[in-house]
């Protein structure tokens, strides 16, 4: 058994290692080392906990058994999961952190002596407040992430589910959570604790159902943030520095990502969270649709255009992930490069279903990361490029965002695809994108629509090059 002071120092060390783990992600070269720091921090934290409890009875064996069970499930998932399913995986993992926080809070509430928090029915006030906040946030994270997971997995419809009185209901529930925490702390009643958990699970569910599929990047980042705050709440209860530091890191990380995602859509955080976008805004484009002529072509035309280009910019979107077209795309680009054509990739901040989704898919297909550019880095290059190849993206290329103040996406930063000499737009049909608005790009003089599955079209183009 080691002293409380010594273990506190080790927890601090593991907290610092976690900071270094995030710091490593500032560039791909240092990132792998950063991940090792994270693992080391975790090993230290777990070892120190064993030593400080110092109870190597048969319970210890069970702890190891459960770590082993969980660990092998986790490792199996990590190796099997396809990269396209990363958003679902992250949402699923968030739900586990939330649930673990809830269970730790329950067990601290039932057996406060083990945690030095007082006796059942007479828990230290400060600890009880921290514990109930941690439990409530954990429960919201859990049920919210489950809904996000079901929506991303397609088990539940990705379209927003709204009903009358939704916002007042949510507001009432949120207020009741605050009141419940207050009552719980003044009465120490275990019944109130269970009610608090139930209500928190409910609100997590209600908060996420009205949010549509394309807003998932914000939702995932937000749940990421919540899972951090839940961990921090538990960290205060356990008086554990590693947990407090980590909770704060993860909480602010998720908050920053949500902010970046909201900015990428030019929408306020509350606008996204209140949800229902797309369900109500489908009026502006629908009337004009089908009346304007579009030029459509086949793989042969596309190959011809690209062969005669000297530079090509590729704009991937969620459709590429759905069609699993990233490998076919890389093969096409390889062929282009053999013909001395300069190729780069342009990624919109909200392309895909989570922050950085497209980058991971391209990395999986062995696309070197120094050919992949963010919106600000590459947007000026479209004017000088010969061909823009839009594969699976839609709203993020819509020039309406710059020209039509009436449009719901007006003001959203978009890729200036229309400035290219010619635009190849791979899409299955003319249907509008997620925002429910028509894309002006379809009808431009220099746009050639390629109606097909993204993967098949890309393969066909490669054959024709």
């Amino acid at each position: 058994m080691i002293s409380a002071n010594l273990s506190a120092i080790f927890y601090l060390v593991s907290g610092v290692l976690f900071i270094l783990a995030l710091r490593g992600l500032s560039s791909p070269e240092t990132s792998r080392q950063g991940n090792l720091f994270g693992i080391l921090g975790m090993v230290i934290a777990v070892t120190v906990t064993f030593l400080s409890v110092g109870n190597f009875s048969s319970g210890f064996i069970f702890v190891l058994v459960f770590i082993l069970i969980g660990g092998s499930i986790g490792a199996l998932i990590a190796y099997k999961i396809p990269m396209t399913a990363m958003p679902e995986l992250v949402a699923g993992f968030h739900s586990l952190v939330g649930l673990a926080a809830v269970f730790v809070a329950i067990s601290a509430f039932l057996n406060p002596e083990a945690f030095n928090l007082g006796q059942p029915g007479n828990i230290k006030l400060g600890s009880l407040i921290e514990m109930s906040i941690g439990a409530a946030v954990g429960a919201i994270t859990f049920s919210g992430s489950i809904i996000a997971f079901l929506k991303l997995q397609g088990i539940m419809s990705g379209s927003p589910i709204t009903f009358k009185g939704q916002h007042p209901l949510n507001a009432i529930i949120l207020v009741s959570i605050v009141i419940l925490i207050y009552l719980l702390c003044s009465t120490q009643s275990s019944n109130l604790f269970w009610v608090l958990l139930a209500v928190s699970f409910l609100i997590g569910f209600l908060l996420i159902i009205p949010i549509g599929g394309a807003d998932m990047p914000v939702v995932i980042s937000m749940l990421n943030s919540y899972s951090g705050w839940a961990a921090a709440g538990i960290g205060f209860t356990l008086e554990n520095t590693a947990l407090i530091i980590t909770g704060a890191l993860v909480g602010s990380s998720g908050a920053i990502l949500s902010y970046i995602m909201c900015k990428g859509m030019n929408r306020s955080f509350f606008n996204v969270i209140l949800g229902g976008f797309g369900a109500t805004e489908d009026t502006s484009g629908a009337t004009k649709k089908e009346q304007r002529p579009v030029k459509s072509g086949n793989a042969d035309d596309a190959a011809f255009l690209m062969k005669n280009a000297s530079s090509v910019i590729i704009v991937p979107g969620y459709g590429m992930a759905v069609a699993q077209a990233q490998h076919a795309l890389r093969e096409m680009v390889d062929t282009l490069k053999k013909n001395d054509i300069k190729v780069s990739y342009a990624i919109h901040p909200v392309a895909g279903r989570m922050p950085g989704h497209m980058n991971v898919l391209l990395a999986e297909a062995n696309v070197p990361y120094d050919e992949v550019f963010e919106l600000e880095e590459i947007n000026n290059d479209f004017a000088n490029a010969d061909v823009a190849f839009v594969i699976g993206a839609n709203d993020v290329t819509n020039p309406v965002a710059k020209t039509d103040p009436q449009s719901p996406i007006y003001g959203m930063p978009v890729l200036d695809v229309e400035k290219c000499k010619s635009v190849l737009f791979v899409k299955r049909s003319l249907s509008p994108g997620y925002a429910g608005i028509d894309n002006d790009l379809f009808y431009k003089e220099n746009t050639l629509m390629l109606f097909a599955d993204a993967k098949k079209m890309t393969e066909d183009i490669t054959k024709n090059l």
Partner: protein
């Protein structure tokens, strides 16, 4: 007058939020997905609470309601720790520069 230890923890918490703020802004956007999976893994350090809960029973009764919740939480957090770090590792291994790829 003595300062409540809670104040120290609060100081650590607030300062860590600031550290997190600056560190995360320096993360390159192309690594935002690994950022999410690694934050996921490290937030599972909540396993330390689960271990304390799991070990709360004595040798006669390893299992009580409290420790059972602890054991389940251990398994959940372990899924996340192993899954989170390994999947991050797997993703990061794919990020390659132009020349190495050929």
């Amino acid at each position: 007058m003595e300062i409540d230890p809670l104040i120290f923890r609060l100081s650590i918490f607030i300062l860590s939020i600031f550290v997190g703020y600056y560190v995360v802004w320096s993360v390159t956007p192309s690594l935002h997905t690994p950022l999410m999976s690694v934050t996921n893994a490290i937030s599972s350090v909540i396993i330390v609470g689960a271990i304390i809960a799991g070990l709360s029973g004595n040798s006669e009764s390893i299992f009580n309601t409290s420790s059972i919740f602890g054991f389940i939480a251990i398994a959940l957090a372990a899924i996340n720790i192993f899954g989170g770090f390994l999947v991050t590792q797997r993703m990061l291994a794919m990020y390659k520069k132009k020349k190495k790829g050929k």
